[in-house]
């Protein structure tokens, strides 16, 4: 297997996906067969892609040229450790999601299913192509295919006007982003025909600082639009709830990371004329995004919206790590940059797994109860015990708690921050730990948001939907797999860091220092910092077992079931629990200026608090108004009077003649 070239394997896998999509389209007439056949096969293909990714990490970079639309614009593909790593991410997430889909789309009618199968695989294909693309043109085509297919998936349930609006917002921002990326690439490519050349040709493009910075800003904007960077994040909380759960899982877990991949490929690998302010810019933008995301995640009342804002937060953290890596590299501290980058890459994979898990779980909740509105849920841990358990793991992981995987990347990131005194610039090194505190705040609030997510949905008493059923076999299998992945990555971080070695080597010419053993995580030196999740876990398990055993041994008595006491209050209804917004009430109060709230009357003539997005009101609505105002001005040219139109022609003619006389 290993002798098989990773690129061939990866392209083969993508072609298989394409084939599966098409055959799924054809098989749509037999929905059960199509679902039971295509999705598991798709999982197998995903596994193939993962294997390709693993081989790409160690194999020598490989490339493939195909005749494109024009001779000067070939379709160009490659694999290298960087794309290998992201192929692993994509493949392993797609593996689980496809399994999940096998069961999830049970009730979808044939016509819908055939469309979905085609678009689903098109989406996977698009993401795969983004990773394999080796020139600007191929990359952009793949990028747009990814955007378009995911758009179609978002509007799967297009009868709802909200979903259409979400889809539009999504595609609009994606399109603007793609335009910016295109521009950035062109600035970068400079010479006329470099667009057809491989990315490596861009590697040492000699650009003036101005143009380098322009290229950087444009691509950062473009990829930021995909990654949910602060003012461009607006599509995310709209699109994710609209899409079916497996699609949200893929979009959040994998597609957002494609933006990160793009940043790495372009702004890190290709742009080496680093201006000193790029890193801080990315860092600040990332931090703002993270804090914003988490503050809004905490106040959401819809499970999937909450997760979407949480994705914004996580992308923000990844950008923070990326910015830190840029800062270190600018100052020639490649070893430190490697640590920051490792944190970012680690978190990318973590996020794919736990966010994938959580989205899939929310899909199961939707199927089980018919709603993802948290003010209708509660107490699902009893009706969906297994789903609840997997979701608990996901929640703990995303909240950055040891010994799960979210903590590892957070830890690595903080370690990287603590190395800031090595920077020659003292202001920067003094300010960076402050940013680290910001990261900690974000993570702590993420715990707040996720505890709310889990507590409101799965704990307490049902608020509205009383009947729920456990997820099906396929769904549970998929969630189990992702939970295992979260635990595994939490317990054995060193194994992943070893995988990262070739990636870091490629990016920085230098990996992390070797580890003393697989159970240790000592990225710099054992003196400096160490963390052993295995030991941690074993210690925890031992004390837990011991204390449980001792207490059971000495004081063990069967529990007696009693009614809830609740300080003796006689009346108790589910409505007396915290509502989703009530849980976030302290935040609403403390950060009041940030939240545009309004009271609206609902159908039962009760006042409800509705919290909007300040960016929408502060930025998008004014922009929209400006555009429409301009439009009205332009349309005033068309007053319907022919003499006026003749006058335009006449004046045009006269003016041109006068100018060129």
């Amino acid at each position: 297997m290993i002798s098989c070239l990773p690129l061939d394997l990866a392209i083969g896998a993508l072609l298989l996906w394409l084939g599966l999509g098409l055959s799924g389209f054809l098989l749509g007439g037999w929905p059960t067969l199509a679902r039971r056949l295509i999705f598991p096969l798709s999982s197998v293909v995903a596994l193939l892609l993962t294997i390709a990714g693993f081989t790409a990490l160690t194999a020598t970079p490989d490339n493939l040229l195909l005749r494109g639309p024009l001779p000067a614009l070939p379709w160009s593909f490659q694999t290298d450790p960087l794309s290998g790593y992201f192929l692993i991410l994509l493949g392993s997430l797609a593996f689980a999601v496809s399994l999940f889909s096998t069961g999830y789309f049970q009730s979808l009618p044939g016509l819908r299913l055939r469309r979905l199968l085609l678009q689903y695989h098109g989406f996977l294909l698009g993401m795969g192509l983004v990773l394999l693309a080796n020139n600007v043109f191929t990359f952009l085509v793949a990028w747009e295919i990814m955007a378009l297919t995911s758009y179609f998936l978002v509007v799967t349930e297009h009868e709802e006007a909200d979903n259409r609006r979400a889809g539009f917002l999504y595609l609009l921002i994606a399109h603007l982003g793609a335009l910016a990326i295109l521009l950035g690439f062109v600035v970068l490519a400079g010479a006329a025909m470099a667009q057809g050349g491989p990315f490596s040709a861009l590697l040492h493009a000699s650009l003036s600082p101005f143009w380098a910075s322009t290229a950087f800003l444009l691509t950062f904007f473009g990829f930021g639009a995909k990654a949910g960077l602060l003012p461009l994040h607006l599509w995310l909380p709209e699109a994710h709830p609209a899409a079916p759960a497996p699609v949200s899982a893929l979009m959040s877990g994998a597609m957002l990371q494609m933006a990160f991949y793009g940043l790495l490929r372009v702004d890190f690998l290709c742009l080496d004329a680093l201006a000193p302010w790029w890193g801080p810019l990315v860092l600040v933008a990332g931090l703002a995004t993270a804090l914003f995301g988490v503050l809004f995640a905490a106040i959401q009342t819809d499970m999937k919206r909450l997760l979407a804002y949480s994705s914004i937060e996580n992308m923000g953290l990844i950008l923070v790590a990326f910015g830190l890596a840029l800062i270190f590299r600018t100052h020639g501290l490649n070893a430190l940059a490697a640590l920051a980058l490792a944190a970012a890459l680690y978190h990318a994979l973590n996020h794919a797994f736990f966010k994938g898990l959580l989205f899939l779980g929310s899909g199961s909740v939707l199927h089980g109860t018919g709603s993802v509105a948290m003010d209708r849920l509660g107490g699902l841990i009893r009706q969906m015990p297994q789903t609840a358990f997997f979701m608990l793991l996901g929640t703990l992981a995303i909240a950055g708690l040891p010994p799960l995987n979210g903590f590892v990347s957070e830890w690595l990131l903080l370690q990287a921050f603590l190395l800031s005194p090595a920077l020659p610039q003292s202001t920067l090194s003094a300010v960076l730990p402050l940013a680290a505190s910001g990261v900690v705040l974000a993570v702590a609030l993420a715990a707040y948001a996720m505890v709310k997510f889990y507590g409101i949905t799965f704990l307490g008493q049902p608020r509205g939907a009383r009947h729920a059923h456990e997820a099906g076999r396929w769904e549970r299998a998929a969630m189990l797999l992702l939970s295992i992945a979260c635990v595994f990555l939490g317990l054995f971080p060193d194994l992943l860091l070893r995988l990262l070695y070739p990636v870091l080597e490629e990016m920085l010419g230098q990996g992390l220092t070797a580890q003393p053993g697989w159970w240790w995580l000592t990225p710099i030196s054992a003196q400096r910092a160490s963390y052993s999740p295995v030991l941690f876990f074993l210690g925890m398990a031992a004390t837990l077992g011991l204390s449980f055993f001792m207490i059971w041994r000495f004081f063990g008595r069967p529990l007696r079931q009693v009614a809830i006491w609740a300080c003796g209050f006689p009346v108790r209804t589910p409505a007396m629990q915290d509502s989703p917004l009530g849980f976030a009430q302290p935040l609403l109060r403390i950060f009041a200026p940030l939240y545009p709230t309004e009271r609206v009357e609902d159908a039962d003539s009760r006042w409800r608090l509705r919290v909007g997005d300040p960016v929408y009101r502060g930025l998008y609505q004014p922009l929209n108004r400006i555009a429409f105002w301009l439009s009205a001005q332009v349309l005033r040219l068309q007053r319907g009077r022919i003499t006026l139109y003749l006058l335009y022609s006449f004046l045009t003619l006269l003016i041109l003649l006068a100018i060129w006389r």
Partner: protein, 225 residues
């Protein structure tokens, strides 16, 4: 293309006189309020045009220009004004041409246009031989004046008149300034003019049928708000 020496002595001044007449008629049309007179002026412009073409044919001895002159006379001086005249009566369009701008302002604008046209054509005239000196400028001025008339009139028929006047200016440029375009082109242009006119006729009846009026303001419904 050579012009006989004796032709130069009387022919060229005569051609210039015709050119001046054309310009004068264009001005007159710009100043005219009544539709009927407008059509008469158009016919006169056609006559001048035909005379000019015939003069050029005489001077240069090109046989096909004679043909062209006859065509012009038949079409522009007789047929089209006649049809317009009859249309006017059949459609019972009456009254004055309502101008968008008042006449003096329009005339002032017209004078400015003529100056502009001359200054524009001056370098071109300088390049040409003595024969057609200034002709381009006059033709340009006639075209622009007709254009201005179209802009300032509301009635459909007056616009058509303006349109035809533009055509006359062009024709003058084609014959006098270039001493005749290639025959194929001239034929094509004439054919187009004829078809265009036929279509216009069809059009007027459709309009009449639909709106009961020839006022252009009925044709200002499609607009952006």
């Amino acid at each position: 293309m050579t012009i006989a020496a004796q032709g130069l002595t009387w022919g060229i001044p005569l051609l210039r006189l015709l050119a001046a007449l054309l310009l004068l008629l264009a001005f007159a049309m710009l100043a005219q309020r009544r539709l009927l007179t407008l059509i008469h002026l158009l016919a006169w412009q056609g006559v001048v045009l035909a005379a000019g073409t015939a003069l050029v044919a005489l001077l240069t001895g090109q046989a096909e220009l004679w043909f062209s002159a006859t065509l012009t006379l038949a079409l522009k001086a007789i047929l089209i004004p006649m049809v317009l005249h009859r249309l006017l009566r059949r459609l019972q369009v009456r009254g004055d041409v309502e101008a968008v701008l008042n006449i003096p302002v329009t005339l002032l604008a017209g004078i400015a246009l003529v100056i502009f046209a001359f200054s524009l054509a001056a370098p071109i005239s300088a390049l040409t031989g003595t024969v057609t000196r200034g002709m381009v400028g006059i033709a340009l001025a006639a075209v622009l004046l007709a254009f201005l008339m179209m802009i300032t009139r509301h009635k459909a028929i007056s616009q058509v008149v303006g349109f035809l006047a533009i055509d006359n200016g062009l024709f003058f440029a084609a014959t006098s300034a270039t001493l005749g375009m290639p025959m194929v082109v001239e034929l094509g242009v004439a054919l187009d003019a004829l078809i265009g006119f036929v279509i216009l006729g069809i059009f007027f009846f459709q309009m009449r049928e639909t709106f009961d009026s020839m006022d252009l303001r009925h044709l200002e419904r499609i607009r952006e708000e």
